[in-house]
Symmetry: none
Subunit: 224 residues, 4 copies
Amino acid sequence: MPSQPTTSTLPGEPEPSRRRRKEARPQELLDAALDLFVEKGFAATKIDDVAARAGVSKGTVYLYFPSKEELLKAVIRHNLSLTIAQGDGIVAQFDGPTADLIRLVANTWWERVGETQASGIFKLIITEVRNFPDLARFYAEEVIEPGERLIVRLLQRGVDRGEFRPTNLYDTAHSLIFPMLMLCLHKHSIGACSAAEAIAKNPSGFIANHIDLMLHGLSVPRAG
Amino acid sequence: MPSQPTTSTLPGEPEPSRRRRKEARPQELLDAALDLFVEKGFAATKIDDVAARAGVSKGTVYLYFPSKEELLKAVIRHNLSLTIAQGDGIVAQFDGPTADLIRLVANTWWERVGETQASGIFKLIITEVRNFPDLARFYAEEVIEPGERLIVRLLQRGVDRGEFRPTNLYDTAHSLIFPMLMLCLHKHSIGACSAAEAIAKNPSGFIANHIDLMLHGLSVPRAG
Amino acid sequence: MPSQPTTSTLPGEPEPSRRRRKEARPQELLDAALDLFVEKGFAATKIDDVAARAGVSKGTVYLYFPSKEELLKAVIRHNLSLTIAQGDGIVAQFDGPTADLIRLVANTWWERVGETQASGIFKLIITEVRNFPDLARFYAEEVIEPGERLIVRLLQRGVDRGEFRPTNLYDTAHSLIFPMLMLCLHKHSIGACSAAEAIAKNPSGFIANHIDLMLHGLSVPRAG
Amino acid sequence: MPSQPTTSTLPGEPEPSRRRRKEARPQELLDAALDLFVEKGFAATKIDDVAARAGVSKGTVYLYFPSKEELLKAVIRHNLSLTIAQGDGIVAQFDGPTADLIRLVANTWWERVGETQASGIFKLIITEVRNFPDLARFYAEEVIEPGERLIVRLLQRGVDRGEFRPTNLYDTAHSLIFPMLMLCLHKHSIGACSAAEAIAKNPSGFIANHIDLMLHGLSVPRAG
DNA sequence: AATGAATGAGTGTTCATTCAT
DNA sequence: GATGAATGAACACTCATTCAT
């Protein structure tokens, strides 16, 4: 279930040169490892399987990563660096109503994270932080804090412009983002088993409903 | 970190009779196993550690559960049976405004699940369904479906009584419940590492804010 | 080539009880490990082979020794403690000519060390000190220093009593002991391959000749 | 720790021509391999390290030696051919007292073997013969037998000339040579770890004392 | 019932060897 | 010739499971 084919040459394609392979390897291995760590968990994933999915032999994994644990950390680091500061740019230059901005940010995030392989990183974090506690600091600094700051800034903008009523912005930020994260977790757990689930079938519909609900919940009561 | 003491006798307590201990064994083992499966994951948990935490020797675990996998299933079954049909009673006999009913159900759930050891079950499910896919059917039937039905019924009650505007009730149910589940997940992952997190410090405040936001979001727009 | 049978029960013998086995295990494993480490070297010895020679399975080795390296250290520690202070007693209470005392000590040492499995320890030390340098301090303190002191005291006794001419006693001590150590090394290297070697056939003869030569070498020149 | 520089060019030295380097390769590899085999043992030495010490890449080793085992044999063969028949020339043309001849041979040997990298070969032999038993025959024929013959001839010369009393010449030869060999072994084992050892500090003094002791031991008792 | 010694299949990691460049 | 990426067999070590006590 990798989102990009990472296995060795398909028939018909020219065999990539040794040098080109070497440059592509780490990425291929990280993709394979993300897939498997997310699917099975760190402990239940065999290095042999990571290697096989990347189309190489077991020893090759150790040419690029000194241990299974370092591979895990590299997977997380690599996929987090994709995530951070994704939204900051959008927010800075947007000019219209905050409701539209929030919808834009949510949809962009869903396209770039939720629908890609990277969505698995959240399950991986939740699964493995307790076993590798230094991941916690890493994740808090790289994702949670910038992410919270971004959303709080968004909400503050709405309040400042008289669009939103005041609430506890940190709590509200979590009410906004948590269902989106659950969507990612769901996709890589129950959603991967029983396809017969409404939410798995139409995540965009769910997101639209969720954002509407939240925006309505934040709307300023009519003076009366 | 078990919420109930599961280890052997503390000095000062009266030694429980041998019979008491024997009858309590399976429960103690299930508690110990839940703790460890949640903390470390199934694959990274050693039977030895489960036994040690329950205050027995390794062999004893096998007197009660035929294999590690069956122990996992028993843990899940046992903790799910606590969960299911918890709220049905409350709903049936409640008479006031749906907003109050929802607050009551949410707070009751948080007390009985979120604040207890049982809150870990959601992390366990998310972590392990893909490795033990028959858990999926089990969980869907025992938790997801009754849970969704309960919340949808709640929301429908609000709509029927003219308290809530109409929305996609399944999506809205998920918007309502997902942040509560994330609270449980958080508590057993990041929240267990860096205590310096707003959300971890005041979950009840977060729940109150979340429910308010949702109820406001569901409120019927003023005619006019 | 173990000097005592260490493998599991011979047919006809009563099966030793589980408890008795547990007490005997470490010794059996140390004997097996000494044999193999001496024969093949540390790196080339497989834990599987140690286990097989001791008549147990691989996992059992790890019940008693936490790693291969600790097993090595235990082997050395165990075999050195046999060695230290072996001669001190003899020397203290001897009364006759120093020449006789030296012959007695040499023969006793040969019987108790040279002819037993423990003779392999010297090869093991020489082979492995550079890879495990903290063995060096250990060996220097436990064997070299007490050993040198013993022999120097012996020689000094001879000089004091006018039996030996004065020489550099440390150098002479080494001239005395080194050929005995070479005999041990030889036995576990070349001597184990080509049996057709004079020295391997008659070590006691060699020792007698060597001691005679040394004693004659130490004898006081006739006043002339 | 090689006694001759075997690594690639030092800054300031003229860069050897490519041809020079190529012709020197096998010698450089043999030197590097001897160092490492002696230091760590055959099994614990990595081809990668041999290559690195010789300043080439791993693949290059296989251009010159078909396998690690053949490299070992080449190292031994090469260092033995240095050793054999070193002394025969000296003995043939010497004319004075046998005592002087023995001192000359011993000192020459120590200069040419004991003080050079080649002294490690004895440790290597003792360490590895049991794993590669055909080395035994090789070593016996090339070193032990010629060496013994040489020393026995020396001793016989002394007896024939009335300088030495008769003894078992084979045993005496071993008494003479074993301490010298132990000096080599010591240098590459304990001596390489704890420098604070009398013997390691003044090997020539030890040799002088040892030969004196032996010669005195062999001296003809005064008639009387 | 309870124990914990023993097992051996399974997995992370290493490293001699190969071979395309 | 020289390189170093890739391989995969081999080995240290772990741990679920069994069973004699």
